[in-house]
Symmetry: C2
Subunit: 554 residues, 2 copies
């Protein structure tokens, strides 16, 4: 039978360093004989404190004094003097501060993608220390990537107890010879090998992965840089906030920490941030990815005036009010970018920091109505096409799958022309009836957008374009202001409408503006260059939006 | 015409100190002549920087250097030397750090309750300083208590510009003589008085409130201590988390900060925390008030085994996983208390801190099955009555309004007997068909519970009682553990089932347990003594759950 399941140990395999090497380092630092800590750790065998800890019979905090006692005993037995500052909780606290071994995780992901069942099998403990958040976070980050997570302390069995391997096989519903098992402790592999599992003793990651390649026939060492994890709409928390009679906002929420509101553009969805949501949450932020007004599960009133930037911004403030969030970071793309710049300009006290992708901040010019500027630039012809209610709706709603496949394309695959749209009689007039699928989306992604737009269509989304004069007048009331809160502008080299060039005077209005630039990226930044974008956003968030807002007791 | 609307200034009226007294204090500290700062602040009149700031033409950060310049000019004009460390942003930063004037707010609330339209009218600025969170929080806290909030910087008009009073009257849809207006600056009252409004110059709160009493005829000085603000179900954010096929959890979410999960008991709702949610959010926490499994908008599978504590705790972990929350504070009441103690015992790494109301922690005793203990104590007879599927369901579902009016009663109004229930043939056998309304609930509260239980009835809720043996066996697997994470036990003096007495040995298992005790409180702690409970919970959260969980970069 072929191997079809892979079993990974945690410490020393999926997380580094191993307990053994953490012990060696501590022994060196404390000038203890090599092996001393491991001896104390093993003391008492299956009835000793550490075995009881791993089986969850006692908690970490109960174990510490017992282990300290065993260390004293071991030192007396072998005539060693423990250093003054000897502290089990300090040694173990450091040992528990492990990091994910990313090449090993990538290998596990690659196997899972190939149809392998994957399982994390770890001797673990009930952590009630002050640092227990570290272990919780490690396990939380790894859990979604594996089919199963088996922790000894939850099932009262620990490696190398033979019963635990039987438990694993039951869980995997596999025969031993269908399973490959990687561990850095030989004694933990033995009973598995005796049962008939393929075992790999992990000394270093490269060698272990080469062995795993041989066993599985799957290429694991040069795994192409994977896409960031994407959200699954059926697997996330959906929130609904009442804004006013007839209007509610829908959002997807992930993570804990300072609030970050993600505001998509036209014609999109909260789902456009699917590659950003898990990454920003992992970085320690509470992400709220909204369906903007007119989209998806948010309300879509028919009236044009419901989509003026003034109304939209007021409703974002109400959104924060209803959620009891004093301040949030606002990140927007396309029309969402317009919105977030206006949030910064009109409600700076509610904005912890502001970032826009592609959309520059250009203040309203009281001497030239925006409509004149739009008319003067052929690239904005599509916006004029969007003005007449009903016209673009008819074209865009006619075949939703075609619409999204035509829009969502990489910079080198794009075929829509935004100029001369009116002259041509529409956006899709000379474009394929059945467009190919761009490499930046999957068929399932497209179907998600299709389903989302079935509810309210394009009227609400198009109405965002139909408040040019009202928006200009409102913008003029803020035209003397500068944006002096933390701000980031991310330009995309190959966006043909929202070009990097358009952002060049932004420092006049945002003197401390930070910038990011993404090469070879077209309009759909979040899906075309998610890895690059995530890096830019996280670095900026860490430096400019990490501090909690100042909160006084009132 | 009688006065029917009340207009309150912010600084110096609803928030203290006033700008004037903050300026005086700064002048004293910096040895500047009295009135110096106000003179600089007024410089330029309606075209000066401060007037422009209040009209929102410039932001706070743009205003600071202009005001500094005006201070320098004023000092030169009058031959004063500004101190070395003179800093407008420091002076103004301190001035902006105001606190709510609670007697004034209580008066505004009392008037609103009497049918008055209330409005906050303030000369305010677009705060883009690093401390802008303070102003944002002040306004966010006050906003829900008023019908209208008018900030000068949003409408480009500031007091004493006569146009703003016209704007106010339009907003209130009132004639001048229907409005009373309180401000601490005489010049701001003048145009209002000229229009015909009743004006009150606020020098001290007591005198002002006495005048306001005279004008309105409403008693405002000895307003009885009001209940904490309650959540309105139609006005909050509702979240939905998929747990597994067929099971989702619903929660209400408010606030920003460390996550706090509120877990209600039998037979209740997220709504049972209605007085706690705003208070804890205001204290700087992110509250997630759940509909527990079987209740309200959460799923209610029919199977008994779906409600074992092991399954319920695992699902709470999944709830956190899906929301991307590594650690949360867990606060439970009644069965929710049982759940949170087990979260602390089995998943300490996910629990930032744990608190239980009424429900003591009593570890499973491997030598005596829990069922024997239940049978031995007559007070638990109702639990035996709940065992047979269908029986209690029929009685409790027959007349939902009667059920909740019979349950939810203060300690001195209770008439349900929990012992001899089986002998009597039910809980409600000799109780009123139409029970009076307890003073701890309103008719609307009762109707909310009624509506919530129409969806799934009592089968799921009662199933929590039907896993006695399974829960005992699971509990025994943790019987050697102690709870060593931050923990709080709140006892209610007059709970006749979950008596304070039952909690007396808890320190054996939770050596660092903190305690709260509420006098004259029966079983329904959150609604019977919300003010006392909020005080206890917030004090404990501030000390034991404020630090963020330790997060390492992995």
């Amino acid at each position: 039978m072929a191997v079809r399941a892979a079993l990974f140990d945690l410490y020393g395999v999926l997380a580094l360093p191993s307990l053994a090497s953490a012990f060696s380092r501590a022994e060196e630092e404390l000038a203890l004989p090599r092996g001393f800590l491991n001896e104390a750790f093993q003391k008492g065998g299956p009835d000793g404190p550490s075995a009881r800890l791993m089986r969850g019979e006692i908690t970490y905090s109960q174990w510490v004094p017992l282990m300290e006692e065993d260390c004293r005993k071991c030192s007396q037995d072998s005539g060693i003097r423990l250093p003054e500052n000897f502290s089990v909780s300090q040694i173990f606290g450091k040992a528990a501060a492990t990091k994910i071994n990313h090449p090993m995780l990538q290998a596990a992901l690659a196997l899972r993608k190939q149809g392998y069942t994957t399982c994390l099998l770890t001797n673990n403990w009930l952590d009630d220390s002050a640092q227990r958040g570290i272990l919780a976070q490690l396990v939380c980050q790894l859990r979604p990537h594996f089919d199963f997570l088996i922790e000894s302390c939850r099932i009262r069995m620990a490696k190398p107890d033979p019963r635990i391997y039987k438990f694993v096989l039951d869980t995997l519903n596999a025969s031993p010879n269908e399973v490959v098992f990687l561990d850095d402790i030989g004694a933990n592999l033995e009973p598995a090998r005796d049962l008939g599992m393929v075992t790999i003793l992990v000394r270093d990651t490269d060698t272990a992965l080469r062995e795993l390649e041989k066993v599985t026939g799957v290429q694991l060492l040069q795994v192409a840089t994977a896409l960031p994890i994407a959200c699954n709409p059926r697997d996330v928390s959906h929130g609904y906030v009442p804004i006013k009679p007839g209007v509610r906002m829908h959002f997807v929420e992930l993570g804990s920490g300072p609030a970050v509101c993600l505001c998509h553009g036209f014609p999109e969805s909260w789902f456009s941030w699917r590659y950003q949501i898990p990454a920003l949450a992992q970085a320690g932020f509470r992400v709220l990815a909204l369906d903007m007004k007119g989209y998806g599960e948010s309300s879509a009133p028919p009236e044009i005036e419901e989509y003026s930037l003034e109304v939209l911004c007021k409703e974002m403030v109400t959104f924060l009010d209803k959620l009891g969030i004093t301040q949030a970071v606002f990140i927007g793309h396309d029309w969402g970018g317009m919105l977030v710049w206006n949030m910064a300009l009109f409600y700076p006290e509610r904005v912890r920091a502001v970032a826009s992708l592609n959309t520059p901040f250009i203040p309203a010019d009281p001497s030239v109505p925006t409509m004149e500027k739009i008319k003067a630039n052929p690239i904005f012809d599509y916006q004029l096409y969007f003005q007449e209610p009903g016209v673009a709706e008819a074209e865009l709603e006619q075949n939703l799958s075609r619409t999204f496949k035509s829009f969502f394309r990489a910079s080198d695959e794009a075929f829509l022309s935004v100029s001369r749209v009116r002259e041509m009689g529409g956006l899709f007039v000379r474009t394929p009836e059945e467009p190919s699928l761009s490499h930046i989306v999957t068929e399932e992604d497209i179907q998600f957008y299709v389903q989302q737009f079935k509810k309210s269509g394009f009227r609400g989304p198009l109405n965002w374009y139909r408040n040019v004069d009202v928006n200009w007048k409102w913008g003029c009331t803020g035209s003397g202001r500068k944006i002096l809160i933390p701000a980031l502008m991310v330009t995309a080299e190959k966006d043909v409408v929202l070009t990097p060039e358009m952002s060049k005077h932004m420092e006049d209005w945002i003197p401390y503006l930070k910038r990011g630039h993404i090469m070879d990226c077209g309009h759909w930044t979040q899906m075309e260059k998610p890895t690059e974008l995530n890096r830019i956003l996280i670095e900026w968030l860490e430096t400019d939006a990490r501090d909690p807002p100042v909160v006084s007791k009132l």
